[in-house]
Every structure is written in C-alpha cells, then in structure tokens.
C-alpha cells in the first residue's frame, strides 16, 4: 500500500475520488438542510429516504415493477443497438449515403422524441411493445450516428491493407473495419443505452400500467413523497452503475485499440 501511495498517478486518482466523495457528502448535507428548512412535506431527510429505499427493495411489488421496466428496457436495448449498428454500417459504407443521411439523422436526433409517444401509443396500444418501441426510437439514433462516423474515421490504411490482402467485403468488415471502429461505436452504444432507459421510463410515466415509471406517477398521485425520492434514488443508482460499467468497458476497449 505504501508503494502504491508513493506513485503520483495513484495519488491523483485517490485525491480525485476522495474529493468526489466529499462533494457527494456536501450534496447530502445540502439535502438535509433543505429538509430542515422546508420540512418533510416537500423533502424527506436523506436518512428516511435511504431507509425507505431499503424497504422498497424488500417488497415484491417493487421487484415486479423493476422486472417490467427491465424487460422493456432490455428488449429496447437489444433491438435498438442491433438495428442501429446494422443501419450505421450500411449507411457508413457509402460516402454518398452517409452524406445524404447525416443531416437528416442529426435533425431527427435533436427533436424531442417525447412528442412522438402518442403516435407510438396509437400504433401499438397500451402494451409492452409501445414501451419497447419508444425506448428504441430514443436509443437507435445515437448508435447509427456513432457507427457511421466511426466508419468514416477509420484510417484509410486499414481499408487499403484489406484490399492488398484481397479480403472479401465481409472479411474486411469483420476483421478490419469493425475492430478499428469498435471504441467509437461503443461510446454510441453507451449513450444509446442511457437514452433508451430514459425513453422506457418516460413511456411508463406517460401511459402505462406497470413499471418503475408508473410507480413514480402512482406515488405522485398518492402524495407519498418519500416514495418518489426513494424510487428516484434507486433508479439513479442503477443508471449510474450501468453507465459506470459501460464506461469502464469502453476505456478497456480504447486501451487495447
């Protein structure tokens, strides 16, 4: 341990992490202060929230909601990422196709997808497919855009080497282009996963009969504020862990690349 602490790199990492923990503690204190100022009617104390979150984790209802959200989120991620990569590869191969598609995708990406939810509901009804479809239209565009731009950014030497080696198009994609483009595609996937989760939860909040988003709206209607806080805390934690692990995976990919 003594030797690790002596290395300046570890020292920097440690101070930074310590500072972040300190900042989180300050935020917790601020929260406590808000609770003291406005009272439990508006904001429950951090401790109460943590206790309630722990309590929720032991109820069957919470896990039923979580499973419902998880299923929609998982399906939406699988569909969104697969089709995003495929479409991105198809468009990314042709210079003309990517030039045609790029501004269109940018525009679609920038419109708030929430406006499209009523259309999705009319198409799919109040069902799992509506949630999945809404998650997919959130997640698929960042993946397409990242895949396209990753292919464009692959160094020309990779393509030329594949040509010299006489690789078939399929072999070129599998052995040269995709590995070279993987880190950038992966950061698109990470963003896609985050917005897919947002999409799934929004769908549940707007119109749904199950899931964590629905549980939030139910808590709002029942005015059980501590439940809203506890659910938000649990969702935040899960999302942060998911994002952290994807980020770690991405760093590893870049490290090898």
């Amino acid at each position: 341990m003594g030797e690790a602490a002596a290395s300046p790199f570890w020292q920097v990492v440690k101070t930074r992490q310590l500072d972040t923990v300190l900042l989180l503690l300050c935020l917790g204190l601020g929260w406590e202060l808000v609770y003291v100022l406005v009272g439990a009617d508006v904001a429950p104390s951090p401790m109460t929230t943590l206790e309630r979150a722990g309590g929720l984790l032991q109820t069957a209802n919470f896990w039923k909601d979580a499973a419902s959200t998880g299923r929609a989120f998982g399906l939406a991620c699988a569909i969104g990422i697969t089709s995003g990569i495929l479409i991105g590869l198809l468009l990314g191969f042709s210079r003309l196709a990517s030039e045609v598609a790029d501004p269109m995708l940018g525009t679609i990406y920038s419109i708030p997808k929430i406006t499209l939810y009523p259309i999705i509901l009319l198409m799919f009804g109040l069902s799992l497919s509506a949630k999945v479809a809404f998650g997919v239209i959130h997640g698929v565009f960042p993946v397409i855009i990242a895949t396209m731009s990753a292919l464009r950014n692959v160094a020309p030497i990779h393509r030329r080497t594949a040509q010299v080696l006489g690789l078939t198009p399929a072999a070129t994609v599998a052995t040269s282009l995709v590995p070279a483009a993987l880190p950038e595609i992966f950061s698109g996937i990470r963003i896609g996963v985050a917005v897919t989760l947002l999409g799934t939860l929004l769908a549940e909040m707007f119109a749904s009969a199950s899931g964590l988003g629905f549980a939030l709206i139910r808590a709002m209607e029942l005015h059980t504020i501590v439940d809203i806080f506890a659910l938000a805390l649990l969702i935040f934690t899960a999302a942060a862990i998911l994002n952290g692990s994807l980020l770690a995976l991405e760093r590893r990919l870049r490290g090898h690349g």
Binding site: E99, V100, M104, P112, I119, M205, I217, A240, L242
Partner: protein
C-alpha cells in the same frame, strides 16, 4: 476540392427526394386505408389541421404558455449554467471532484424528479420551468467549462501584457474566445429544456402544447393531436436549426472546429 461544390448539392437533391418520397408514401398508405385513420391521418390533413389551429387561434393561449415557459427555462439554464460553469472553472479542485457527477448526469433519467417538482411547486408554470431548467443546465455547465478550457493561452498572455484587469480580461478576452462553445451549450440546453417541458406537459399540466397533444390523444381527436404535434416539431426544428447555423458560423469564424 473541386468536388466539394458538386457533392453536397447531389446529396442535397437525394435528401430532398428521400424526404418528399417518404411523405408521399405515408400519404398513400393513409389514403388507401393501410394505415387506419384512428392511428394516423394523412400528412396533407395534418398540415390542414395545423393551418386551422394557427388561423383560428383557438390554442394561442396554450402555444404561448409553452413558448414562454420554454424561454424562461432556457434563460434560467443558460444563465445559471454559465455562472456555475465559470465558478467551477475558477475552482479546479471542486471541478475535478464534480467531473464524474457532471458526466453521469445525462446517463440518469433526471426526469423522474418531475413528480417531486409537482409536489414542491404545484401543478403549473413553476414545476414545468424548474423541470426544463434542471434538464438543460448541466449541458450549459459542461460546455462553459469546455469553452473556458479552450481559450488559447496566447490570448491570456497578451491580456497580461496589456495589463488588463480581471473583469476586462473576462469581458474582452475570455468570453469572446469561448463564445462558439457557449453557443453549443445554449443549443443543447434549449433542446434538453424542451424535452423536460413537453414531457412534463404530457404527464401533468394545466395548459400547453404537450397538454393539448395528450388531450387530443385521449379524445381520439387526431386532427388536434397531429396538428399540434406538427406545430411543435416545426418550432423545435426552426429554433434548433437557427442555433446550429449560428454555432457553425462562429466556429468557422474563429477558425477552430
């Protein structure tokens, strides 16, 4: 280089054809009854419904409500985000501690706080504006930090040589040099704020474009729903397009990408 003037125009023509073709296809599918009228009305009828809404002025109050709230939320997130970003920039240690939190912010669905804001502010403008500002502010903070980071050191040295005071250095050197990145921040903050506000209006609000769309959906009033939807999309695309254009021009003028 000679190809540059040729390619974009060709891509532009194809892009126009693709968009027009897609709309014509949709029109045909709706008119022929493949797409049920209860699911979607033909695009020409959407445009007609939009014209009727604008001409009759029956939803002017709702449109004004949403536009005013969005403007307020954007102003709050831009001003607040700039101040917070500048303050963080001046305190490197706090900034490094906050870095992981800032980068994870958009990975967690902040929107789950909306029920909480409803409890705190009541149903109405307050909760919506707070939601919009909360979603938009971090984009502005991150881009303010980015912009201040990228002020070329030579400019700061010149300012020192000219013995500019801190205030004038900020006003005459730092701000103009960081401007392109601040515009990027404004563009993103605007896009995120709209998402927060429209999503809020969908779920629970007293008025607004999102509220009318949600009502139209619930009443099977597809003309109102699609007309208002089209209006919202056009508004968002115009604002986003204008900011993107301004951003591009500034980046070009400052000679950096």
């Amino acid at each position: 280089m000679s190809g540059r003037s040729f390619w974009p125009s060709r891509a532009g023509i194809i892009r126009t054809l693709v968009v027009v073709g897609a709309i014509a296809c949709l029109e045909l599918l709706c008119r022929s009854g493949v797409i049920n009228r209860l699911t979607m009305i033909p695009p020409t009828e959407m445009a007609g419904a939009l014209w009727q809404i604008v001409a009759s002025g029956k939803f002017n109050a709702d449109i004004l409500f949403t536009v005013a709230n969005t403007a307020a939320a954007i102003a709050l997130s831009v001003i607040g985000g700039f101040l917070a970003g500048a303050a963080l920039h001046a305190m490197p240690r706090v900034r490094h501690a906050a870095d992981p939190l800032l980068s994870a912010y958009y990975a967690v669905p902040v929107f789950v706080f909306y029920p909480l804001l409803i409890v705190a502010f009541g149903v109405g403008r307050g909760a919506l504006i707070a939601m919009g500002a909360l979603v938009g502010i971090v984009a502005m903070i991150v881009n303010t930090l980015d912009g201040l980071d990228r002020v070329p050191p030579v400019l700061l040295k010149s300012a020192d040589v000219l013995k500019l005071g801190n205030a004038r250095k900020l006003l005459l050197v730092r701000l103009p040099a960081a401007l392109p990145y601040l515009i990027t921040g404004i563009k993103l903050a605007a896009a995120y704020s709209v998402i927060g506000i429209v999503a809020g209006e969908f779920i629970l609000a007293t008025a607004g474009i999102g509220k009318r769309i949600a009502f139209g959906y619930q009443d099977f009033d597809n003309r109102t729903m699609y007309g208002m939807l089209l209006l919202l999309l056009i508004l968002v695309m115009v604002v986003n397009g204008a900011l993107a254009f301004w951003e591009k021009r500034l980046h070009r003028r400052f000679g950096r990408s």
